[in-house]
Each structure stands twice: as structure tokens, then as C-alpha cells.
């Protein structure tokens, strides 16, 4: 018996010892959730693979669900293929030929067959299976030639509990199942970098909540809407996200009147970190995520980052620290946030930015100035109390 299936490969999880079962189950859940609306599918576990099979009268098309499966973190890639339950060599020959005809009709291609025999009980060794199947295909399809060194197409036959045949492997994003590495709070500004940073940490299995600092009337409703839209795009990969909106106008104006202009951004970012850490505690999260890229703007020198991070106890993850702008933009385009990020609304960090901001702040000096800001804690407490939660 044979049927069309989607073969899902997962990566690092396979090495996770005792947690493996948990991670695999989480992947199965995510796949089910993501493809549920597209038809009657079910997901079965097979050694080191997940197999998506179509069920019911109307067999749904796999094409529509492939992108929905690929965007799940922890999945290395997928391949549409054929599952053969009765693994006699004749069945495998016929199924392989059928697969090749469907995918490569009359295209001029070179190919080879690669067999992986995980099921060591199988009576024929891998190379021999490959030779038998290869010959059968070659004899029945005029458009194909054999090239074992540099073929256009590799037909893979995996002999497991059942046999799986595929030729077309599509790469996913890799990473780890969402939520399998704990929680963090990401600071979203509405720019290009911060959504990419949040996405990268989500890819490593971190469950991300987001916080946006809103400063009306200096930042408009459209700026807030833009951040919501960005959170929505990132949550396509994560299945949902909490977005906290903290009103920061009072704090910004207080700082503007109280601190030296060139150090304003440092104080502002420190204040943001303090509130973000409070949110992280509330969310039982264990870290913060920012889109800082070293050297990109004045506050992103090592001294600047040190002065900013000095206010929190939690680790501050900066996945973009070593990336160039273009590398960040490439990811933003890939995950679909770029077009939204470049809409020109005011960014909360740039409203009162100084002409010549401090690039080498001394943490001790900043601490000292900040200790004289009597109202800062009270203002931050109020902002935290009054923040708004949007469930994306």
C-alpha cells in the first residue's frame, strides 16, 4: 500500500536526551495547529521523522500546507513524498517510478538513487536497493540519465518502519521548538532591527513577549499600529504573542528637563530596560531581547551598551550584536517584517535625539546623575501600572 505524505525532518532535538519526547510532542502540536484549517491531516511519529498524512474522503493538497509547516521552529525541512507500507522491492520500484514521473514528467534531468536503510532487518542492502530502483526508473523514463557524482535530482529512499520515497527537500528555518528554551521579553521599537531580534530568539526556542514604549503625541497612533503589525508578523512563526504598550511621554519629558542632552538616549534606554525587566518578572521570563547592533548608532558602543545593561539583573540577549545592517535587512525581508518596518512613523527613541549624542558614557557617571533624578522611579512605576496589554 502506498500513499502521498509529507516527510518532516527535525534537527537538534534528536540530540536532546531525556527532553526529546517533550520537544517532539511540541513539534507535533505545532504542526497540527498550523495545518488544521487546511484539511483532514494527521501527524505520526517515525524514528527521527514526523510524517504528515492526509485523511478522509477528499485528500487535501500538500502544497498548501508546506509553508505552514516550514515556518515552525525546530523543523529542518520537509519533503513531499510517498509512503510504502508493504516494503517489497517491487512495490518500492513502482512507487519510486510513479514519484519520479509526477515530479519530473518529461524534463531532461540526471538523477541518482540514495537509499538509507535504518531498518536493518530489510533483506536487501542499501546499494543494491538503489541499483535496482535506479535501473527500473532509467528503463522507464527516457528523459532521465544517471549521474552518481553530480546529479540534478537525488531520489531518496528511507527504509524505516515503512519506506519513504522523496526527491524534493525544502529547507525550513531550523532552530528549536517554540517555547522549549524558556521565556524572554523583547523590546520592539518599530524599526528594522527589533522584530528581527525577537524572531531570532523565538527561533532558538525562546517564548517571546514584546513591549513597546508609546509617547503620544510625539509618536502617533499609526506608529503604535505599526508595532502591532510587526508583532503580528513575528507571531506567524510563534502562534501568538503578548504585546505590552507602556506610555512613556511623561518619562521622556522628565528626562528632557533633567539630564544632559547628549546623554538623553542612554537614560531613556535604561528606563526602558527597567520597565521591560519588571514585565519579564511579571511574565516569569528570564531575559530581555533587544535589537542592538554594536556600533550602529551612538548608544550602541560597548560603553553605551554597558551603561544601559547596568540597570538590569537579567541577561540582555542581543542576537544582532555582530551583524551588519544589510545582514539584518536580509533577515527582515525573509521573515516579512521589512516592508512594515520602513514605514516612516516616529520611533520612540528618536524623538528628542541630540545632535551629538554621547558615545562613551561612563556607567558610574550615569548612575550618579540618575541617583539625583528623584521622580524617575515614581514615573516608571506609574507607567508600569498603567500599561496596556494587547494579545496578538
Amino acid at each position: 500500500m502506498e500513499e502521498k505524505v509529507l516527510i518532516v525532518k527535525y534537527g537538534e532535538i534528536a540530540m536532546r536526551g531525556n527532553n526529546r519526547k517533550l520537544f517532539v510532542n511540541r513539534l507535533v502540536d505545532s504542526i497540527r495547529k498550523n495545518i488544521d484549517e487546511y484539511g483532514d491531516f494527521y501527524v505520526v511519529k517515525e524514528q527521527g521523522r514526523l510524517i504528515v498524512e492526509a485523511r478522509g474522503e477528499t485528500k487535501a493538497e500538500f502544497d498548501t500546507i508546506i509553508p505552514r509547516v516550514l515556518c515552525i521552529f525546530g523543523i529542518l525541512g520537509v519533503a513531499p513524498g510517498i509512503k510504502v507500507t508493504d516494503q517489497s522491492i517491487d512495490n518500492i520500484k513502482e512507487a519510486s517510478l510513479k514519484h519520479m514521473k509526477e515530479f519530473f514528467g518529461d524534463k531532461e534531468q540526471s538523477f541518482k538513487v540514495l537509499t538509507k536503510r535504518s531498518n536493518k532487518q530489510y533483506p536487501i542492502v542499501s546499494n543494491e536497493v538503489s541499483a535496482i530502483v535506479g535501473e527500473h526508473i532509467f528503463e522507464n523514463m527516457d528523459n532521465l540519465s544517471v549521474d552518481v557524482h553530480n546529479p540534478d535530482v537525488v531520489l531518496t529512499i528511507e527504509l524505516r518502519n515503512d519506506a519513504y520515497i522523496y526527491s524534493h527537500y525544502i529547507m525550513g528555518y531550523g532552530g528549536l521548538p517554540y517555547g522549549s528554551s524558556g521565556k524572554a521579553v523583547a523590546l520592539l521599537s518599530g524599526g528594522i532591527d527589533s522584530p528581527v531580534a525577537a524572531w531570532l530568539m523565538a527561533k532558538r526556542g525562546v517564548e517571546v513577549s514584546a513591549v513597546y514604549f508609546h509617547s503620544p503625541p510625539y509618536t502617533g497612533e499609526r506608529a503604535k499600529q505599526k508595532v502591532e503589525d510587526l508583532a503580528r508578523i513575528v507571531s506567524r512563526f510563534t502562534g501568538g504573542m503578548k504585546l505590552y504598550v507602556v506610555h512613556f511621554t511623561e518619562l521622556q519629558l522628565y528626562l528632557l528637563e533633567s539630564v544632559p542632552e547628549d546623554k538623553l538616549t542612554i537614560f531613556l534606554k535604561r528606563a526602558m530596560m527597567k520597565v521591560a525587566e519588571k514585565i519579564a518578572l511579571k511574565e516569569h521570563a528570564d531575559g530581555l531581547v533587544t535589537g542592538d547592533s554594536v556600533g550602529q548608532v551612538a548608544s550602541q558602543t560597548m560603553q553605551g551598551l554597558n551603561a544601559i545593561s547596568a540597570v538590569c539583573n537579567m541577561p540582555v540577549l542581543r542576537p544582532l550584536a555582530g551583524m551588519d545592517k544589510q545582514e539584518i535587512i536580509d533577515i527582515a525581508r525573509k521573515i516579512g517584517t521589512f516592508e512594515t518596518s520602513i514605514l516612516p512613523y516616529e520611533d520612540c527613541c528618536t524623538i528628542f535625539v541630540a545632535k551629538h549624542p554621547e558615545t562613551r558614557p561612563k556607567t558610574s557617571v550615569i548612575n550618579k546623575i540618575e541617583s539625583r533624578l528623584e521622580r524617575i522611579d515614581e514615573i516608571l512605576e506609574k507607567a508600569f501600572e498603567e500599561m496596556e496589554l494587547i494579545e496578538i
Binding site: 503620544p216 503625541p217 502617533g220 516616529e346 535625539v353
Partner: protein, 386 residues
């Protein structure tokens, strides 16, 4: 309740127009091009709408075409003329204070090899008619002028302009972008000697997505859309009978007692202008004096302020205004119209447009001024120059 002073961007639909629209959509839904009686009835609605509109601008009903709005009319006038008259010449003229629906097509044609003259304006926003006359040549096929500017409300002298163009070259076509003018200013296509005129319904309390294009009989302007032959083969596509009928209702209403209405609206504008100039420091009017520009548009500059911030602050107090032209505010560009008047960048940054309709009140003007008095000094305190 919101004080809505952004009527140059769009207006609230007139209840009678909305009602008309529903009536046509539910009772006269047949395709106006159908041979059935129902089709004929729908077609009759288009005809009577065209008739109503044509009378208001002293045109013939056959010279009225229904479009999707101002942008389509402007594009049609420019690309249609370029296509129809390119053998006669490739020189076209417009001003530096046009809406993008005109200036962008001109730039496209410039890239395609047409020679474009962008007429400058003085500090009040007027073109120099002598300069225009000198610019019109034997090979000039089109002059396109915005009658009432959308940002500063400057009213060009259409009659003098039309006369100057035709005296110099009778074959040069004259297009008027009347999007901000129709319904608020008397338009006579014969007196203005214009060959084309673009109008959008939602600027005078009609529905969005509909407008009309006047094209003088006999001019050789090509269509920009091709299809099933509707509207004399000049603007194919199933006609929007409901939109056209609603537009006609709104048009007729706005031209009733126009002079009295304009006086009333001017009082609102005057109240805001005078109070702001007297009661808030470092403010100035952009464009011509409030009496000479359109009563519907008031552009005020606030020194040491960013208009975008003021806009959001006013919105918190339920006063809706606009910074730059609405179609432009999504792009981070400064107003090219204000730049063309010779304003400094800092002054452009602090300019706000208040635009009115006959449904606004003097009371709303006072609410607006009070909101400004509360917010402007506060925002200025924290304004930093970048």
C-alpha cells in the same frame, strides 16, 4: 464629539447623497449598458446625473464622464493628451504646486522624453501669467493648473490663465485640477476656456471612489482605459450609477446658496486665523491673505514646533487637522508646496492645515483655538531642533 477640520482630505457624506446611493444600489442595480428596461433605467440615472453636473459648470451633459475620482481625471487629462497630441508637440506645462496626481504623471512623461515646464509661484502661491504666456510655444500641447491649491488654498486666476494660453496658442489644451474647487467656487468652463477639468466627489460631501471628468467636445484626448465601450468608448468599465447619482446630489446641494455658504465658512476660518495670530506667539499664515485664499483652507505655521506632534496632540483633544497634504503624510517628505513658496525647512515643519466644510461651526473654531492654546506652549517647551 470630534471637531473635524480636515475636510480638504475628505468629507463626511451628505445624508441625502448616502440615501440616494442606497436607493440606486438597491433599486437600479442593472448594468446601465444592458438592453433591458432595467438597464435603461440605470442609464437614465447616469444621464440625469451628468446633466445636473454639466449645468453647474456650464458644460454640455455629453462632456461629462464619470471616473473613479480626482487622480483618474488628472491622469486621463495628462496621459490622454500626450497620447492624442504627441505628433503636434511634446511640450507640456504645469506648476510647482500641483497635487501628486498631476505632478507624478508629468514626471513620468518627462522620463519618456516630453519636455516639461514647471512654472514657479510667488511667495503667496500664484503663478505669473506673463511667465506662463512666455512658456507656451507652438509645440505646447497641454497646460495643467491646480485651481485651488490643496495645502494653502491659493486660487489661481483661471479666466486670465485660459485667456493667456489660448491667445498664445489656440491648440494648446488647458486642464484644470478642480478637486479642491468644485462645490466651493464657481466654475465656468467656457469662461475659463478650459478643455478638461477633474473633480472628485468626496471633497464636497459626496462618496469616495467617484468623480467626474469634463472634456470639451472635439478635443483629441485619448482614453487611458480600454474595454467594453462604455461612456462613448472614452472611459470603459461598468458605470458607477449609485456613485454618480450621489455625487450629483452632493454637487447640487453645495452650489445652493454658494455665496452665503462661502461667507459663513470664511467666518470660521477668520475666527481661527485671527485668534491664533493674536493669541499664540510666533505664528504666521502660509499662502495669500485669508480673504484672498479659499475660505475652506487655512494653513498656519507655528514656529519651533513639529506639525506631526501638534497634530497628534490636537487629536487627543478631539480636534482633527492635517500636517501637509493627507496623501503625503505617509511619506516622510516635507511639503513641496510650502517649499515652493520659499519657506525655510523649520517653518515648513511647523505648518498645519485646517480645512473646513459648511457643516463646521464657529463654536468648533473656538474649541480648536482653545486646544491650540493649551498644547502649543507645552509642546514648544520640549521642542528640540534636530
Amino acid at each position: 464629539m470630534k471637531v473635524y477640520f480636515d475636510n480638504a482630505a475628505s468629507t463626511k457624506i451628505l445624508p441625502e447623497a448616502a440615501q440616494k446611493m442606497v436607493e440606486v444600489m438597491t433599486d437600479y442595480y442593472a448594468n446601465p449598458g444592458a438592453s433591458s428596461v432595467m438597464g435603461m433605467e440605470a442609464d437614465n440615472i447616469l444621464k440625469s446625473s451628468a446633466k445636473t453636473i454639466s449645468k453647474l459648470i456650464n458644460a454640455d451633459e455629453k462632456e461629462i464622464y464619470f471616473t473613479s475620482g480626482g487622480t483618474e481625471g488628472d491622469n486621463w487629462a495628462i496621459f490622454g493628451t500626450a497620447k492624442g497630441l504627441k505628433r503636434r508637440g511634446k511640450h507640456i506645462i504645469t506648476t510647482v504646486i500641483e497635487h501628486p496626481a498631476v505632478s507624478m504623471p508629468f514626471k513620468v512623461l518627462e522620463e519618456e522624453g516630453y519636455e516639461v515646464t514647471f512654472l514657479p509661484v510667488d511667495e503667496k502661491g500664484y503663478i505669473n501669467i506673463e511667465e506662463l504666456k512666455n512658456a507656451v510655444r507652438e509645440d505646447t500641447i497641454l497646460v495643467s493648473i491646480i485651481l485651488i491649491n490643496n495645502e494653502i488654498g491659493t486660487i489661481q486666476n483661471a479666466e486670465e490663465i485660459g485667456k493667456a494660453i489660448k491667445e498664445k496658442n489656440i491648440n494648446t489644451l488647458f486642464h484644470i485640477d478642480a478637486v479642491q474647487a468644485f462645490g466651493k467656487y464657481r466654475i465656468d468652463v467656457k469662461k475659463f476656456k478650459c478643455d478638461m477639468l477633474s473633480v472628485s466627489a468626496h471633497k464636497f460631501n459626496g462618496p469616495k471612489g467617484v468623480g467626474f471628468f469634463y472634456m470639451k467636445k472635439g478635443v483629441n484626448v485619448k482614453p487611458v482605459l480600454y474595454g467594453g465601450g462604455q461612456q462613448n468608448n472614452m472611459r470603459p468599465g461598468t458605470e458607477n450609477a449609485a456613485g454618480a447619482a450621489a455625487m450629483a446630489v452632493a454637487a447640487e446641494e453645495s452650489y445652493k446658496n454658494l455665496e452665503e455658504t462661502n461667507k459663513y465658512v470664511f467666518e470660521i476660518k477668520k475666527r481661527i486665523a485671527n485668534r491664533v495670530l493674536n493669541e499664540i506667539e510666533d505664528t504666521f499664515i502660509n499662502g495669500d491673505t485669508i480673504e484672498k485664499s479659499s475660505p475652506y483652507v487655512l494653513n498656519i505655521g507655528f514656529k519651533n514646533l513639529r506639525s506631526e506632534v501638534l497634530l497628534h496632540a490636537l487629536e487627543e483633544k478631539n480636534v482633527v487637522v492635517s500636517a501637509g497634504s493627507a496623501c503625503n503624510s505617509r511619506k516622510k517628505v516635507q511639503s513641496s508646496v510650502l517649499g515652493a513658496l520659499g519657506l525655510e525647512d523649520d517653518d515648513i515643519q511647523g505648518s498645519i492645515r485646517f480645512s473646513f466644510s459648511r457643516f463646521n461651526t464657529l463654536e468648533e473654531a473656538d474649541i480648536c483655538v482653545e486646544a491650540l492654546k493649551e498644547t502649543v506652549p507645552f509642546l514648544r517647551r520640549f521642542n528640540r531642533k534636530r
